[in-house]
């Protein structure tokens, strides 16, 4: 999981005024040639700031996303699912670790980032502000939220910042297993008892709107990000990614005999793109600004985890602690 629906600030027209024009031109030429920017290379302040913001949001999404799915580890039905879900959520936490490290190369510490998460200064993927009521909800997340994340991350993996791209390459390889796991779980619900089918249909009804929100506001209303596209920070428009997701997964959902709760959803034969009911962007804004069903709970759990672990992290810093040889 779980990147996607990154929110970017609108770019002010004068934000590059203080940059050295020669260095800036050289930087942009490198990106245009497809070169990667590495941590010690020169970069505009705006590039650094927006990258930190994006990678940090992605990392937060991984650890917050572990919460709704983690709840189902202790409830997973049977050994096969229990073992797979444990491994999957562990991967997500591992992704957070990779991503925080990638963001740290830009000069912000993991501790600062986690503090900003807890105090509400930085965001995470909006979709995790919704509750996972049943096992089928967790299957929806594993299959379709991960699928959405892959669409987003495959695009971002072709971006310009080396450490982030390398982290994403590893992340995408693991995500493809998550997708298989999630799809497998959903197939079992789809072909199981009427109760199992109903469980997934209900999950689909609950999660469709947040899933459409996942890729971020419509291009018609989202902040202008041309310079971020030029710098290969943002790699595809929100609507393009949403369309790609619908292209890949709507047929699979229909194939399993489920009904997607949007009567307008259809592929337009003239445009080759999907028509759908415009998601409620007011709700998206309301939820991302803190007023969703689970925002408070998610941040509270994270805050408690940080607080309870504080003494452990302090003890690791203790000067009198003797060094113990790491395992590998």
């Amino acid at each position: 999981m779980y990147g996607g629906g990154n929110t970017f600030e609108g770019i002010k027209t004068d934000s590059l005024a203080q940059e050295d024009p020669v260095k800036l031109a050289e930087f942009e030429a490198r990106i245009a040639r497809g070169e990667k920017i590495e941590p010690s290379d020169w970069m505009p302040q705006l590039y650094r700031k927006q990258l930190i913001r994006m990678i940090e949001q992605h990392a937060h999404s991984e650890i917050i996303g572990a919460l709704p799915e983690g709840t189902w580890i202790t409830r997973a039905p049977g050994f096969k699912r229990k073992l797979a879900l444990m491994a999957k959520v562990q991967d997500e936490v591992g992704h957070a670790q990779l991503l925080y490290s990638a963001a740290e190369t830009l000069g912000k510490s993991r501790e600062q980032m986690i503090n900003d998460l807890i105090n509400g200064k930085s965001k995470y993927s909006n979709i995790f502000n919704y509750p996972a009521f049943t096992w089928a909800d967790s299957c929806f997340i594993s299959w379709l939220v991960d699928a959405g994340a892959i669409v987003n991350q495959l695009a971002n993996a072709k971006g310009s910042y080396g450490p982030y791209c390398r982290a994403l390459d590893r992340i995408c390889a693991e995500e493809s297993f998550h997708l298989k796991y999630g799809h497998h779980c959903v197939i079992y619900l789809a072909t199981g008892t009427p109760k199992q089918r109903a469980m997934f249909q209900e999950a689909l009804n609950r999660w469709w709107a947040p899933m459409m929100h996942f890729f971020g506001p419509s291009d018609k209303i989202s902040a202008h990000t041309e310079v971020l596209m030029k710098w290969k920070v943002k790699m595809a428009s929100n609507d393009d990614m949403r369309n790609q997701f619908l292209d890949m997964y709507v047929p699979k959902i229909w194939e399993l005999g489920f009904t997607i709760p949007d009567p307008k959803l259809r592929k337009n034969p003239e445009t080759g793109r999907w028509d759908y009911t415009e998601p409620d962007w007011e709700e998206f804004k309301r939820v991302i600004n803190g007023d969703g069903p689970c925002n408070k709970e998610r941040l509270e759990v994270r805050r408690i985890a940080e607080e309870r672990g504080h003494w452990v992290r302090e003890a690791l810093k203790a000067p009198k602690a003797s060094y113990v040889m790491p395992l590998a």
Partner: protein, 251 residues
């Protein structure tokens, strides 16, 4: 070979691994740092996987399918030690339990590599290799936090004092102890406990933690006979919540 004795041995080992694996997995998303979150998750996967392998040995001996065994029994049918079912509490307790438990488990599986019951001996070789990482992990952290700050030392000491009587409950003897020893299936809890005490003493001597005199401690027994604390049934209810919606369904 006394098959009832063998099955009882397998049940208690598998139940221990399943229940503690389940507890370890509760740290997912809650660890004091990401690296520990990930480590407890790895150990959880190993332990649950090991329980699955042992339930499969039981299945080969005529018991039910592993899923049925794990997800449909009630607390009084479980033979795990009470120690494994206690809530995670704070990280200091989880870490101390992990240390005391895995120190015993690696010795237990080392003894089992010489079991006369060959399928168990074969499995024990594999499990012992996995447990090596669990004890390395536990020892590393106990040594670091057991000598770091006043707070970390006092927390670990408090948890050690709370945990030890329960830890001794791991070595509660079976009714068939003598049969197991006689048939060379398992060398017995007494030998295991003596070796465990020595190893615990070695590791703790490298920290500022104090071990009480073993003679002053009374083991909290009962788990091996299906007598559990109030914590096991809620754990099992949660674990089987989805499975019980329809135990005949495939999930």
């Amino acid at each position: 070979m006394n098959e009832i004795a063998l099955k009882e041995l397998l049940y208690k080992i598998a139940d221990d691994q399943l229940i503690l694996g389940h507890r370890n997995s509760e740290w997912t998303g809650m660890g004091p740092l990401l690296e520990e979150d990930i480590a407890f998750s790895s150990m959880a996967q190993d332990k649950v996987g090991q329980s699955y392998a042992i339930y499969n040995l039981l299945h080969a001996l005529g018991e039910q399918e592993p899923d049925t065994i794990a997800f449909t029994r009630n607390a009084n049918q479980f033979h795990n030690s009470i120690f494994t079912e206690l809530p995670n509490s704070e990280y200091d307790f989880s870490l101390i339990r992990h240390f005391l438990y895995d120190t015993a488990e690696i010795i237990r599986f080392d003894l089992l590599t010489r079991s006369a019951y060959q399928p168990l001996a074969d499995l024990a070789v594999k499990v012992r290799a996995e447990l090596r990482y669990h004890t390395l992990h536990a020892n590393t952290w106990i040594k670091q936090l057991g000598s770091a700050t006043e707070e970390s030392i006092s927390r670990l000491q408090h948890s050690l004092d709370t945990a030890l009587p329960h830890a001794l409950g791991m070595f509660e003897e079976s009714l068939y102890e003598q049969d197991l020893i006689h048939d060379s299936i398992f060398a017995g809890e007494k030998i295991l406990m003596e070796r465990w005490k020595q190893q615990v003493e070695i590791i703790l001597s490298k920290t500022q933690l104090q071990l009480p005199d073993w003679d002053t401690l009374t083991a909290v027994n009962g788990g091996r006979k299906g007598q559990h604390s109030e914590h096991l049934q809620p754990l099992l209810d949660e674990m089987s919540e989805v499975f019980r919606i329809d135990p005949t369904a495939e999930w």
